[in-house]
Symmetry: C2
Subunit: 333 residues, 2 copies
């Protein structure tokens, strides 16, 4: 047993944006797998907005990361040794073993992936939780019908880019909302969205009224705050708003900004519904199969933003909240 | 043709609570019905929270009352003369002819009611829009299942009292939220709710946690504001929140308070959906029949708060917003 397993351990509940001092960064021993466990080497770490919520105390859809615990994160890597018949050394796997170089984890917590079919980072993005969130959130909660107008915020992000492309595949008009001309250009020119609103440069309400003069049927919300409020003014009768996240509010040190315009739900007989991808776990295979098929046909593209070095974790995570990332954010270890 | 038709005409868009000066109160001629019209004498005027919204400019689910127009209101009364084969003098009818003594209205805008089956005021309450709002809003949007916990705010009001009783009829636990010990006592002792929280005397969140330790499955919201936010903290997985009104916000001169705790929808995979009773117009007969049946069996009670005198209109309307009314608020003309 050697040392050399670098780990980020949560040591303080962050106030606002995370700081390096909210974590201990130290080396531990590379663990020894027990019976039924697998020793994995981390290749990629997924950075997701939800991670900010996991650092807070209090009831949520998943238990908070405890103080003194390795920070939870989606991960992809390679099996080094296995004490489970389900895996052998050299297997490429994804799991949630956290921000560290190595882990000994229960075999049931891992999924084998085919790195020949798609590069490993895709399994943390379009073929992983973000892609599945987009797939089930849009199709099962948003319930878009061909000809309808689908709007998605965080449009160039891990979830948003998939939402808009699936909307197009289903015959809808797809309108993105993103921060910056480069991101907007990407989702329109590369991903085929019909339009994109740059919330940093445009008045979202006015721009939406121009891009969707008949209004919005489905809004897939990743950001909350003022953008949710602006879209609420532009919804159509029987609109569906999928509440997937509220990245604008995750670092608040003041109370969350509730949507002042929520009475538009009444005027328009519309609904707002929350979703968590875990609920579709029994159907992940269906989602991955559909998306891998579209990828093979060139109909579903995705972009990753890969930062090198596990040691960059706190600063890299904050890129999500400052909007500096462009595509699915990952650390390459 | 005589004068003697007293009318309240909207002359200013109210700021905050309505003032007498927002209306002109004057006498016009009693109108002469044209072909296809009916001359009606007003007996009761319905006072509904929604009326405050109708006085505001801007797009809503119904066009605003224009300046110079008689104030819109639900009404019940008697046919004096008819130029339509559908009605004859002496018929008891309900309609929406507004805050005035007489009106000549299109026959299609009236419904005949049987004053022997139930007194006229009931047709503006439990057998009218408020009752139908409760019936379709709870059953079609709230979708309560036997054994679930249903919470309703404005519990002693025109809609709330019906919501809780239908919840009980469907095998649910019914918890009211109302302002004052007398109202709470009424909904529990007279109407058979399981519990009632007096929001003026109790901490709603804490009281709900005690009354519904497993959480809330359906919340029928008539009030918005802090009470909506408190209930959001206590919802169960897959909860349904019916947005029927937001009486706490209708007289705001500052922006509406959005529900800060709306992310509880995500954590609990819950939904919040707006409803307007007009959408169920083709099924009103079904709702009235069901409720009249329950009334006949003594299973559905209702209370009216009847104020005498058309001339009291502005002050009587404000009773809704100060919470002074106790039961369905009506003016007897």
């Amino acid at each position: 047993m050697s040392t050399g397993n670098r780990q980020f351990t949560l040591v303080a509940r962050p106030q606002g944006m995370v700081k390096r001092s909210d974590f201990a960064f130290a080396e531990a021993a590379v663990p020894e797998p027990k019976d039924g466990e697998v020793l994995v080497k981390t290749r990629y770490i997924s950075l997701d907005p939800a991670m900010r919520g996991w650092m807070n105390e209090g009831k949520s859809y998943i238990r908070p990361v405890a103080l003194g615990e390795v920070m939870r994160a989606g991960t992809a890597g390679e099996v080094l040794s296995s004490r489970s018949p389900a895996f052998t050394a050299g297997d490429q796997v994804v799991g949630t073993w956290g921000v560290q170089d190595y882990a000994a984890v229960a075999a049931e917590s891992l999924s084998k992936v085919d790195a020949k079919l798609a590069p490993l980072p895709k399994y943390l993005g379009v073929l992983g939780m973000p892609g599945l969130t987009a797939y089930f959130g849009l199709l099962e909660v948003g319930l878009p019908k061909a000809g309808e107008v689908v709007v998605v915020s965080g449009a160039s992000g891990a979830v948003g880019q998939v939402v808009g492309q699936i909307a197009k595949l289903k015959g809808c008009t797809a309108i993105g909302i993103a921060g910056g001309a480069d991101k907007c250009e990407y989702v329109v020119k590369e991903l085929g969205f019909d339009a994109c609103i740059d919330y940093k440069a445009q008045d979202v309400k006015k721009a939406l009224r121009e891009a969707a003069p008949k209004g919005v049927d489905v809004y897939f919300d990743n950001v909350g705050g003022d953008i949710l409020d602006a879209v609420l003014t532009q919804i159509r009768m029987k609109a569906r708003i999928v509440i997937c996240g509220a990245i604008s509010q995750y670092n608040n040190t003041t109370p969350v900004k509730g949507p002042s315009n929520y009475m538009s739900l009444l005027v328009n007989r519309a609904r707002m519904e929350g979703m968590v991808v875990f609920d579709w776990a029994p159907r992940y295979g269906e989602g991955i199969q559909a998306m891998a098929g579209w990828m093979a046909e060139g109909k579903l593209k995705s972009r990753e933003d890969i930062v090198e070095g596990l040691e960059t974790f706190p600063e890299t995570l904050n890129k999500l909240f400052s909007g500096e990332n462009f595509g699915k954010l990952l650390i390459k270890v």
